[in-house]
Symmetry: C2
């Protein structure tokens, strides 16, 4: 297992749990030591810590910083490395490419190399395969197998998803596809969908994430428009969800995390190579990337309603994780909101139940929502953590300065409750002060 | 019931079936006579003909060309008129506006006027309400109720949808909303979702159709890109559909019918009024509207592979209905394909199982697929009619000239079968001749 991150570690653990002897390779000495000691840093992944502890003790799961040691006797080598985008939104495949070269140096004939990392269609055949061939001197498909089996699991429920969501397997030849499919079917107890080749498997992974990214963008586009039309976007989407062929996606501050914000750019990059830019995908990305600006506008508007400016105000941000109930702030869209608030002269205090008392994004996280809200002029809900669904609005109202705004950037609260507690309220797509229609 | 078209007639029939006395008003003398004679022109709507015949005989359903007669004793007046877009894609609400004025002249105090027609949010409150007030001299909500209850049913299974899909009801006041909700719940046996006002109800209807329009556009965008990347779009989408949060939409010639191609423009028009253009919605529309050009390109490419040009070729188009198994060619996207083929110098023969021997789109429709295909150089599947799923490719292959192309613009056929039968094959998103990747 090459890479022991949020995907690599549970994958390694599940294979070891199924009876395989798994050797994990990571360049991070600390991660390797942790794993060998049976420790796990992903406390927000139910069941994982216990599993890693048990398997490390039994010796079925071990880790090393030596590629040679991990790879030399392996029948299957699985690449589970991060594939981020850089500041210009260009895919950065350097980690997988380096790992492929490193692995190629030590792998033996007959091995099957499986890429679980999310990459653009074409990268496995066009970059990883050639890197393995060059370093190993072996040929594919003759000497080794090259397969894609992209992970399809959702942070916060990785183990559950790995044991229930079917896997997509594509390889350079049918025999290899079948072996990889049977490997996952046997170890994880899930169906494996066999597709024509690695690039098709990667296209599947990207297409399903882009589906979400574009549909979240569509809901964000409606949110901004509906605010102007005096329509509650959440009410509309909830009602749409009663139709059999509709799937609800909700507006918010934008999209964060390790997958959605970057996956669309991998597809765009592959499109650029063949002179065919997927415009909807790109526009979806841009709409989502601009939602923090809209949230800033809502903050400014609620402050304006209570006679205050952003500059000089104290803003309490509740929730910085990129999605509910996970300990992860990767590309969290609330971060640009916070940066802009500070740039505009606001003072910001942060609370997040997943990071109480820790130092995150340069802030010492408060111990409670009320502590963060103390003396603030505006409260902003940045993440739909479960805890916020039962937020004590009266306590919050007592903690803030009179009068204060409340911007629910994730539509967690009932607007009426917020207004009743005395806040000047805005939600994304729920601007209650919008002009009413003639009869409305 | 104002308007006895594909929605108005079954709605009228269902209310009459539930025990109401329904008077249908239509400006089309022929439709009125048909209805009074118990006849129905929608032979593709299961169960409708029998229901209309029975209810007309019993006298519970009658029709008239006099608004006065239909409206004067009515407790509820339902507007079911077409709302098309004109050639510049501007919504044309003239039919509903004229009907509202006509109805306003004869309606009495206490009546509730329900709009089922699909309109932009704001049109019921801003156009229909004022027209009713002006002509009647009555005030809303004091003297009469104004509600939206947009139809949510799918041509080809209108009755079934009306009896199963929840209704969205929004009105100018809560009492009126409840009365309308109970009316539909009682008569149709479905749930009614009560929303804040008419514009929210109309936003729901548009949002759910735009969701489909944009997602079909996304699949079309992927189709065109995947052809260049040597990936089969249908294989990808089928595999994506194994993930719990993905909904499959498939690429094709574009989007037709009375709803999807126009509904997005209603929303765009409302956006323009408040200076907020929903770009994703507009781009989705443009992508779908350009798919006929892509199909033309595929036809030209398959003909090229057999050494022929579009000019001078004979092309058989199988399927002209805008969607499977309906007798309807409204805005069917295969029509611009046919027009362009003729303009480029091809001869076109058409077959459609729903219109055998009839004159449609200026063509006399052939009696069978083989008859249309006789002597042709390219066969194009234009609609995914059930009949085409078991198309006899060997018979077709014998009917065409040697060699011939086959463009499956709806991905009904198995590509391998088409190739085996001797055709130069292309599907939308399935260009099998695309360049292969290094190892592929």
């Amino acid at each position: 297992m090459v890479g022991l991150g949020r995907i690599g570690l549970p994958t390694a653990a599940l294979f070891a749990h199924a009876g395989a002897r798994v050797s994990g390779y990571d360049i991070d000495q600390e991660v390797v030591e942790e794993t060998n000691a049976g420790k796990c840093r992903f406390a927000d992944e139910p069941g994982l810590a216990e599993m890693v502890s048990r398997l490390a003790k039994s010796g079925r799961l071990s880790a090393t910083t030596s590629a040679k040691e991990a790879v030399k006797d392996a029948d299957f080598i699985i690449l589970c490395l991060p594939t981020p985008v850089d500041i210009t939104r260009t895919p950065d495949y350097s980690a997988v490419r380096r790992a492929a070269s490193e692995v190629g140096r030590w792998m033996h004939k007959g091995v099957i190399v499986i890429t679980e990392s999310t990459v653009g269609p074409g990268i496995v055949e066009g970059m990883i395969g050639p890197a393995l061939e060059k370093e190993s001197g072996l040929r594919c498909p003759g000497d080794f197998g090259l397969a894609s089996c992209p992970e399809r699991s959702d942070p916060g429920k990785i183990l559950a998803d790995m044991r229930s969501v079917p896997r997509i397997v594509g390889s350079t030849n049918q025999e290899c596809t079948d072996m990889v499919a049977e490997l996952y079917e046997g170890a994880f107890g899930v169906n494996a969908i066999r597709v024509s080749n690695p690039r098709t498997a990667n296209a599947v992974k990207l297409t399903e994430n882009i589906f979400r990214d574009v549909n979240i963008a569509l809901s964000n586009e409606f949110a901004v428009l509906f605010e102007k039309l005096g329509i509650d976007a959440k009410e509309v989407i909830d009602a749409c969800a009663t139709k059999y062929n509709f799937v609800a996606h909700y507006p918010g501050t934008g999209v964060g995390g390790p997958c959605l914000p970057s996956n669309s750019y991998y597809m765009i990059a592959e499109g650029m190579k063949v002179g065919n830019i997927p415009y909807l995908v790109r526009m979806g990305r841009e709409i989502n990337d601009r939602m923090p600006d809209h949230v800033i506008q809502l903050i400014s508007e609620t402050l304006n309603r209570v006679g205050k400016t952003v500059s000089g105000s104290k803003v309490a941000v509740l929730g910085v994780a990129y999605k509910p109930n996970v300990r992860d702030v990767q590309l969290t869209p609330i971060e640009p909101v916070i940066r802009e608030l500070i740039k505009t002269g606001a003072e910001v205090q942060v609370y997040d139940p997943m990071f109480k008392g820790e130092k995150i994004l340069g802030f010492t996280i408060a111990r409670s929502a009320t502590e963060a809200a103390k003396g603030s002029d505006c409260v902003v809900i940045g993440t739909a953590h479960d805890e916020f669904k039962s937020l004590d609005l009266d306590a919050l109202s007592k903690a803030v300065r009179k009068k204060a705004g409340l911007v629910d950037a994730r539509n967690v609260l009932n607007p009426r409750d917020a207004v009743k507690a005395g806040f000047a309220y805005c939600g994304v797509g729920r601007n209650l002060q919008a002009p009413k229609s003639p009869q409305g």
